[in-house]
């Protein structure tokens, strides 16, 4: 089964990497966000109520979560074309296990997210980000969980709506509020009480908090012990959903 997962993922990655646009726009997109947003944050950081320390320390972990959320959250777009061309059907008729197939497809988004994240961390170091190796390692695990959950959900949704336009609408409808409520871009402490209450329902709020704690090696915080189990469960549910969808992906 691992072999089949590897085969599917390798094929998909080769195909993705062949696209020069992906290298430029996919891999470097988060860096662009960082370059545009980090200087702007310098001013904000002096605002009363902003968490202490350098703004990059606040912003880089948030950006990592946001990137995992958005990149993997758009994974489903690719599968609609595969469904249309019959490629998905061709994979589904082979004897490989459905779980292997699903993991292979999800692994591609996960790998992309890891590559982007590592690149983002490296660039952030030049902006003065301080990290611990253990913290970064744990943070990458969290990002993988976020990517698995988001990619699986996006794939499943794509197999239901079967149309890029509708998928874009549905994705934006969910992603933007989840992003804003997560406090990725601005500290949620700034928000009015209602928003703060709503943000407690946003799983990405916990991921963002955990990411900020983790990056400096604070792995024993409550945020971390909440975020990990939460995203293990979410990733498992989303994967299960995707497996179910692919068993009868009606094109």
């Amino acid at each position: 089964m691992l072999r089949d997962t590897y085969l599917v993922a390798k094929h998909e990655l080769l195909v993705t990497a062949r696209n020069p646009f992906w290298i430029v726009f996919g891999l470097f997109q988060p860096i662009v966000y960082l370059l545009l947003f980090a200087p702007f944050l310098k001013g904000v950081a002096s605002t009363p109520g902003f968490p202490g320390g350098d703004s990059i320390q606040f912003f880089a972990p948030g950006l990592l979560i946001m990137n995992a959320m958005f990149n993997a959250g758009f994974a489903g777009f690719g599968i609609i074309e595969k469904m249309r061309s019959g490629f998905l059907e061709r994979l589904r008729v082979t004897p490989i296990s459905r779980v292997a197939l699903v993991l292979g497809l999800v692994l591609v988004s996960t790998t992309e997210v890891i590559l982007q994240s590592v690149l983002l961390v490296v660039v952030s170091l030049f902006f003065g980000l301080t990290v611990t190796m253990a913290g970064i390692a744990l943070l990458l695990v969290l990002l993988v969980l976020v990517a698995i959950a988001m990619a699986s959900a996006s794939f499943s949704l794509a197999l239901i709506v079967k149309d890029e336009g509708i998928l874009a609408g549905v994705t934006n409808f969910f992603q933007l509020p989840l992003l804003l409520l997560s406090g990725v871009l601005l500290p949620i402490a700034f928000a009015p009480a209602l928003i703060r209450a709503l943000s407690a329902l946003d799983p990405f709020r916990y991921a963002a908090d955990a990411a900020r704690d983790l990056i400096v090696g604070g792995s024993d915080g409550a945020s971390v012990t909440t975020a990990f189990p939460l995203f293990v469960i979410l990733a498992a549910i989303a994967l299960g959903w995707f497996v179910r969808m692919i068993r009868e992906a009606v094109a």
């Binding site: 080769l14 195909v15 059907e89 061709r90």
Partner: protein, 326 residues
């Protein structure tokens, strides 16, 4: 005879439709038996349910009701075993456009369990056999329709499946490409593979298939060998051509009282005799007219076509007024 490779009973498929629309009954109880080693055809107009039936038989869709055994395994409970023994070339092909033809085939071979080395050998063998070398290294999105279809076929037979499903293998191909696909189907069949194909070309079913099921609106309207099916619409037509109208009239007059003159029609210089087993009657007709010193200019034996079978069964012509479907 050995056990049939495919036995399906009571296959039904109902697609839930979008809100406000009635559900689509794509299959309404289909029974099929495919003998090991034959070429079996599903013939029917657009929207008849051919693709739906084939996708169910390939484990891609779960039937709403009914069951099937393929190569001795249960279609629903033993999917993995069934998948190992079938090859499937969908109506849409399914090549990854940004990968080369060769890469597509290698992936396919590897997913059927071949080692890296074995996959390379097998893919080269197929590229050679199907004469694909010229474009195997190009991205499949650059292929012409015919080139792509041959590659699709290659991907379906990569693991030498005992049962091969082909969904409209020649739709949209020019006569030369179609002939290539036909040749390959015949060759595979001669090598022992059972082939299950769908088509809406009558001549394709006629030329390739040992048995044909005519499907219409989700049900099998008729099943048999092409010859049997054609026999159900009545006999053959013997078309006799004469040098002049007078000669035709004279011949008609002579034939009227004869055993083969029961149903006939005279039109200008030709006389048409509607008979059963035309190939057996024809020599007698020729002898009879010869004995009467009536000189025949041309003779044609016209067989009833599957189109006539379809027309008789459904009241619609397969070739002239296609139903609108997916």
């Amino acid at each position: 005879m050995s056990e049939p490779i495919l036995v399906a009973t009571g296959l039904r498929k109902t697609f839930r439709a979008a809100r406000g629309n009635p559900a689509v009954e794509a299959l309404r109880g289909v029974d099929l038996t495919v003998a090991t080693g034959e070429v079996f055809g599903l013939l029917g107009p657009n929207g008849a349910g051919k693709t739906t039936a084939m996708r169910i038989l390939c484990t891609l869709l779960i039937p709403s009701a009914g069951s099937a055994r393929i190569a001795g395994f249960d279609l629903v409970r033993e999917q993995a075993q069934v998948r190992q023994r079938i090859g499937y070339v969908g109506q849409k092909g399914g090549m990854e456009g940004v990968a080369t033809g060769r890469e597509n085939l290698i992936l396919q071979a590897r997913l059927y369990g071949m080692s890296r080395a074995a996959a390379a050998v097998r893919v080269d063998e197929l590229i050679d056999r199907l004469k694909l070398a010229e474009f195997a290294g190009r991205k499949t999105q650059t292929y012409s329709g015919g080139q792509r279809r041959i590659f699709d076929l290659a991907s379906g037979i990569i693991h030498k499946p005992p049962l091969l499903f082909l969904d409209e293998p020649t739709t949209g191909l020019d006569p030369a490409s179609r002939a290539r696909v036909w040749d390959e189907v015949r060759r595979l069949n001669a090598e022992g593979a059972t082939v299950f194909l769908t088509t809406h070309y009558l001549e394709e079913a006629d030329a390739l298939c040992g048995h044909v099921a005519i499907v219409d609106k989700g049900a099998v309207a008729a099943l048999g060998t092409p010859a049997d099916l054609k026999a159900t619409v009545g006999g053959d037509t013997i078309v006799l051509g004469f040098a002049s109208e007078a000669a035709a009239k004279a011949a008609a007059a002579a034939v009227v009282g004869s055993p083969f003159g029961a149903k006939m029609q005279t039109h200008e210089q030709t006389v048409r005799l509607y008979v059963h087993r035309g190939e057996e009657v024809l020599p007698a007709v020729l002898q009879f007219l010869n004995a009467k010193q009536l000189e025949i200019a041309t003779v044609t034996l016209a067989r009833p076509s599957l189109d006539e079978v379809f027309l008789k069964l459904t009241g619609r012509s397969l070739t002239s007024e296609p139903q609108v479907g997916s």
